[in-house]
């Protein structure tokens, strides 16, 4: 490569690095604040991890712990107090239960539906598909109130069902999988029929394995959206703390008698975010593997 090309590449990288910094900065702040003491956070000093001086934390004492228990290093305090104050493992488990249930049911609904829309010929197919597209245009917030009223009438407010049921039919999932299934050759389905498979067997044994890359893409969308969702759980979980999802849990650290204590708050946010990031990194690797797997010609 010549020097000129290096400069060209350098520009590209410089711009990308700036973009990366802009995206990463909030995460840096989050991690940094979860390690520092309240004074360091408020005076914006101490760099990434702060001085880590052992000290006694007044909010902790005010909550009713002995001074001895409340004396430790800031990073220990932040994470310990976050878990002390709110049942974070419980919230995380709720998050897992809710997002996984939503995703599994979404797949159970979307795959047969997308298969029918992409590969079966029946009267009214175009109409049904246009309704799917139409539903894509409806914002969730527009129908939130009627949905809430319906759940309330059914006595489902403050249950897992309220968190899961409204999301089980994902028109986006149907649309995405339908578009992917359109690219699967008809001959493959005909071959499966000749081999003796029924239509449901074709969906689960032929279409599902070929659709893994698309399904992973959908999984990322679905899981991230519902793991991070604050709006809907806030509506339907009114009092029962046992049903709080992680974003609702973080709210526990806002305001109150002890004012805003950023250290433990950021510590809880880190714990809530880490599973998603780990899941994404794993999925990303499988994602690329999945693309190379489909050696269909």
């Amino acid at each position: 490569m010549e020097a000129k090309q290096y400069i060209g590449e350098g520009w590209k990288h410089a711009i990308l690095i700036i973009g990366a910094i802009v995206v990463m900065l909030p995460f840096y702040m989050m991690v940094s604040m979860s390690l520092k003491s309240q004074q360091e956070i408020q005076s914006i000093s101490g760099g990434l991890i702060g001085a880590q001086e052992t000290q006694t934390f007044p909010v902790c004492v005010k909550t009713g712990y002995s001074e001895e228990t409340c004396t430790m290093k800031p990073y220990q305090y932040n994470y310990w107090f976050a878990f002390e104050k709110a049942p974070i493992p419980r919230y995380l488990m709720n998050g897992v239960i809710v997002t996984l249930s939503i995703f599994i049911i979404q797949v159970l609904v979307a795959l047969p539906c997308a298969y029918a829309l992409a590969k079966l010929r029946f009267y009214g197919r175009e109409f049904v598909f246009s309704m799917v597209l139409f539903c894509l245009l409806i914002p969730v917030h527009g129908i939130a109130l009627p949905l809430y009223v319906m759940l309330a009438q059914a006595g489902l407010v403050d249950t897992y069902s309220a968190l899961i049921l409204p999301w089980t039919i994902s028109v986006f999932g149907i649309f995405l999988m339908r578009q992917f299934f359109m690219t699967v050759p008809d001959e493959l389905i005909d071959a499966a029929r000749m081999d003796g498979m029924g239509e449901y067997a074709i969906v689960w044994k032929v279409m599902l394995p070929t659709a893994i890359p698309a399904l992973l893409a959908f999984a990322i969308f679905s899981v991230v959206a519902h793991w991070n969702d604050y709006f809907w759980p806030r509506m339907v979980i009114t009092g029962n703390r046992d049903l709080f999802t992680p974003p609702l849990g973080i709210r526990e650290f806002r305001g109150g008698i002890d004012s805003d204590e950023f250290g433990p708050m950021m510590a809880s946010i880190v714990t809530v975010t880490v599973p998603l990031i780990v899941a994404f990194i794993i999925a990303q690797k499988r994602f690329i593997e999945g693309i190379t797997l489909t050696g269909m010609k």
Binding site: D190, M194, D195, G196, G198, V206, G295
Partner: protein, 377 residues
């Protein structure tokens, strides 16, 4: 047994008529080729036999049983597709096993994990393994069993697709242009392999192709279809020698048959260019198309009332034969003449040649394209 009868089959997609009242009887153990140009409905007909497509009217009978309302999976037919349609996520072994698993295991045994507790499953698995091993040995794909389709070459995928059709020992094989994705040399090789396979299996083959050479070389009978109509159903030799219509004559044979415009006079004497045929046409006082195949014309030094002349426009050397594309003197026709290399190698583009007809080989067709016979006199 493996007889298939098609009775008055018609198929239309919306207002487009694709198949027009077809009647075909396929005998047990026969290699029947459905041949025709693209879009003639031959693949649709095959899909109707398979049960993947429903005919608009008419009946399909397999072993004299009406299967109009029987689903594809229950007709006990196997199909080989143009794109092979192997399951991309399964190994070759699993690809071959799939039709057997679906046939032999019951619903419970097919369940993952708990299906293994079924007492009869082990026995069935063993018989499946044996069948798969036997088939893969026949097709010489034993060493490929653990690969995925993506890691195979075109020819290997072709064999696996054949194997997946064979393991089940169906009443008939349906093949939809299985060789058209292969390169030329492999295609010729696979032709002979398929013929051998047919001889050893003695099962009915229904084979769809647009390549008339495949139809001529492999089939016991061929059905020529054009525009949704069955024009002729006969042995390859008979179709070649004795086409029922002008379209069949033009479709079958490579290079294409030469067509001359001519007339029959009141006595039935057929004349074209400056040549008169010896035999008389059964239709008189009419315009005719006279068809003569390239191998029934030869380049000659003679010049008499049986020859005509032209200029060589293009010379196509195939090694064993040379085909001369000749513009006839009156400018009406461009014809193709076969020459043997040892006699004609010195003829080059642009030279003028005399062409002689081999007697008794002309075919007559009337204006409507139907065959006109010679009188026996």
């Amino acid at each position: 047994m493996g007889t298939i009868s098609l009775k008055n089959i018609s198929k239309s997609f919306g207002s487009t008529q694709v198949l027009n009242n077809l009647n075909v009887d396929i005998n047990d153990g026969e290699f029947l080729t459905l041949v025709g140009p693209s879009g003639c409905g031959k693949s649709t007909l095959l899909r109707i036999i398979a049960g993947l497509e429903q005919q608009t009217s008419g009946d399909v009978l397999i072993d004299n049983k009406n299967v109009n309302r029987v689903r594809a999976s229950e007709r006990d037919l196997a199909m080989v597709f143009q794109s092979y349609a192997l399951y991309p996520h399964l190994t070759v072994r699993r690809n071959l096993e799939t039709p057997l698993r679906l046939r032999d295991y019951n619903a419970f045994e097919r369940l993952p994990l708990i299906g293994n507790f079924s007492p009869s499953k082990k026995e069935k698995t063993e018989s499946i393994n044996q069948l798969v091993n036997k088939t893969s040995e026949t097709l010489k794909i034993s060493e490929l069993l653990d690969r995925k389709p993506g890691q195979l070459s075109g020819g290997q995928r072709q064999r696996v697709a054949l194997g997946r059709a064979m393991v089940r020992e169906p009443v008939a094989f349906l093949m939809d242009e299985p060789l058209s994705n292969l390169d030329a040399a492999l295609r010729v090789h696979m032709r002979s392999e398929l013929s051998e396979l047919h001889n050893s299996l003695k099962t009915t083959f229904v084979y769809v192709t647009h390549d008339q050479a495949e139809a001529l070389t492999m089939s016991s009978r061929m059905a020529v279809m054009i525009d949704g109509n069955l024009l002729q159903l006969d042995t390859p030799q008979e179709v070649y020698d004795n086409p029922s219509s002008l379209s069949v004559a033009q479709f079958v044979g490579s290079p294409k048959i030469n067509i001359f415009k001519g007339t029959a006079d009141s006595g039935g004497t057929v004349g074209f260019l400056n040549v008169n045929l010896k035999r008389k046409s059964s239709e008189s006082n009419t315009d005719l198309h006279i068809g003569i195949r390239p191998e029934h014309l030869e380049i000659t030094n003679e010049s008499n009332e049986n020859t005509f002349s032209g200029t060589v426009a293009y010379r196509e050397n195939l090694g064993s034969d040379i085909f001369f594309h000749v513009n006839i003197e009156d400018g009406s026709n461009k014809i193709i003449v076969r020459g043997l290399p040892q006699f004609t190698h010195q003829i080059s583009n642009g030279s003028s040649v005399n062409i002689k007809r081999v007697s008794d080989k002309a075919l007559l067709f009337n204006e409507a394209g139907m065959r006109v016979q010679f009188t026996n006199a």
